[in-house]
């Protein structure tokens, strides 16, 4: 019986090694097949949730293996289509949402004197207030630990966050000359008999981190 178990374990180990051709990257800066190994991307993220909310699962692999410089061309149309079809919003709002979210990278102004980051603050001039504790948005951009990025992403498609009801033209100048479109009155925010698709009602976590000491994120539980 023991021999059978050992044989099984050996076969399992053989199977594991036979399944992967990826070399280990050694800690001294070399790797098992030399330094000329080319690595190919299997995942990429800048802004949170673009794939998960706006793009169908079948597109995710191709998205992960593409470069963000092509995002507006390659993924602008499906993002806008989600807004116009699933969310039922105007074409102008669909287009503006894609301009806000793409390319898939966090953008920050390193010259900005703000002491806090604020998701989409660079794109919207700090006019969106993602902080879950209620602090106002900043123009630094980037993303803070307390930013409610899910409600923000939902609010772009189903609320008024990507419209002139929320944004001024001056605040969105970093996106180019196209001004925020007018609100089409088709929000799905729980009002007027619509489903609530803009607020998942998840409260701030008890401990997101240690704000005044590196590494800032909270210890594991």
């Amino acid at each position: 019986m023991k021999r059978l178990i050992f044989a099984g374990l050996a076969a399992f180990s053989l199977g594991l090694s036979a399944c992967s051709n990826d070399p280990t990257v050694n800690p001294n800066g070399t790797n098992t097949t030399g330094s000329n190994v080319v690595f190919h991307e299997v995942d990429r993220i800048g802004k949170p949730g673009i794939k998960e909310l706006y793009l169908a699962f079948g597109t995710h692999s191709g998205y992960n293996q593409s470069v963000p410089a092509g995002d507006l061309t390659n993924y602008g149309p499906p993002v806008a289509s989600f807004v116009t079809t699933t969310a039922g919003r105007s074409a102008a709002i669909g287009s503006f949402v894609s301009m806000i979210l793409l390319p898939d990278a966090l953008i920050a102004n390193f010259q900005d004197a703000s002491t806090r980051a604020s998701y989409l603050g660079w794109e919207t001039g700090g006019q969106i207030n993602p902080d879950c504790t209620g602090l106002s948005g900043t123009t630094f951009g980037g993303r803070a630990l307390n930013d409610d990025v899910v409600d923000t992403d939902l609010g772009l498609a189903f609320g008024n966050l990507a419209t002139s009801a929320k944004l001024t033209s001056a605040g969105t100048i970093n996106l180019g000359p196209t001004p925020p479109p007018p609100d089409d009155g088709k929000e799905k925010n729980g009002a007027n008999g619509t489903p609530n698709l803009t607020n998942e009602h998840v409260t701030c976590p008890v401990a997101t981190g240690t704000p005044h000491q590196f590494p800032y994120l909270a210890a594991p539980i």
């Binding site: 076969a11 800690p27 949170p48 390193f110 990025v149």
Partner: protein, 260 residues
């Protein structure tokens, strides 16, 4: 005949292992939910979130974070490790605001991280972390090689802070409590198309016509992630480009030599 049986057996074993990896961890996804079949099979290559914020302790610095391996259970954080075959990369485009809309960003400075095999005895295991850069990438795009001829700018160990690049950059790579908060379950009840499952249909048509509940549940309230956190002087990054820093793009990638 024996060789054929060996090949057949190995193939079957591979299929079994892939199936276990694919379906064994499906419930445990971060906000990079259902990223792709590849990242589902390799949780430690699955980037859940990125963060970029001014340093709370030094106005000259920024903090960049990439989290991988979603929903590590409570208590399992210190026995969870990075994938030694994955190259973890933070990419920056410090010239972003100067580039044309529609063809940006293009990374001009990157920081790479590789990890060793897990070593040590049970209960006292560790992993060495090697940091490459910051440096201009040898090639831009979705394929890359180790920076500086694979000469690391510094090394440290998992779950311990250390510094590299002549002490300019603080690094932590290890387990942290997941800062993300998100009602993952209800999200996918409402928007099932982003999951790998073909169905079920959105609950909006049946059991949840009102959408999100009045009180949401944070699926990640009691879970951890593997975090790579760097604190770096803004100017160190800006020195690699020609921009003044009024628009700096940041994104994170994971890569393998096979691309799978």
């Amino acid at each position: 005949m024996k060789f054929a049986r060996l090949i057949g057996g190995t193939a079957a074993l591979c299929a079994l292992i892939v199936a276990v990896l694919l379906f064994g961890r499906i419930p445990a996804r971060g906000f990079d939910l259902q990223g792709s079949p590849v990242t589902i099979a390799r949780p430690a290559s699955d980037i859940t979130d990125t963060y970029l914020f001014p340093s709370p302790t030094n106005a000259n610095n920024v903090v960049a974070v990439m989290d991988v391996d979603p929903a590590i259970p409570a208590g399992a954080g210190l026995t969870t490790f990075f994938d030694q075959t994955v190259l973890y990369t933070m990419k920056f485009d410090t010239n972003y605001s100067q580039e044309a809309v529609g063809s940006r960003p293009i990374e001009n400075v990157v920081i790479q991280f590789s990890v060793s095999a897990v070593s040590g005895n049970t209960g006292n295991q560790t992993q060495q972390i090697s940091v490459y850069g910051p440096a201009a990438p040898s090639q831009t795009g979705s394929s890359t090689m180790l920076l500086n001829g694979a000469v690391a700018s510094g090394t440290g160990f998992i779950n311990r802070e250390f510094s590299v690049f002549a002490g300019q950059i603080q690094v932590f790579a290890g387990t942290r409590r997941d800062p993300q908060f998100f009602d993952k379950t209800q999200f996918f009840n409402i928007f099932p198309a982003s999951t790998q499952a073909a169905g079920p249909a959105s609950c909006l048509l049946s059991t949840c016509p009102s959408g999100f509940a009045a009180t949401g549940t944070n699926y990640f309230a009691d879970s951890n992630v593997l975090s790579i956190i760097v604190e770096i002087p803004k100017q160190t990054l800006l020195d690699f480009g020609s921009g003044s820093g009024t628009g700096v793009a940041f994104w994170a990638t994971t890569s393998t030599s096979s691309g799978s």
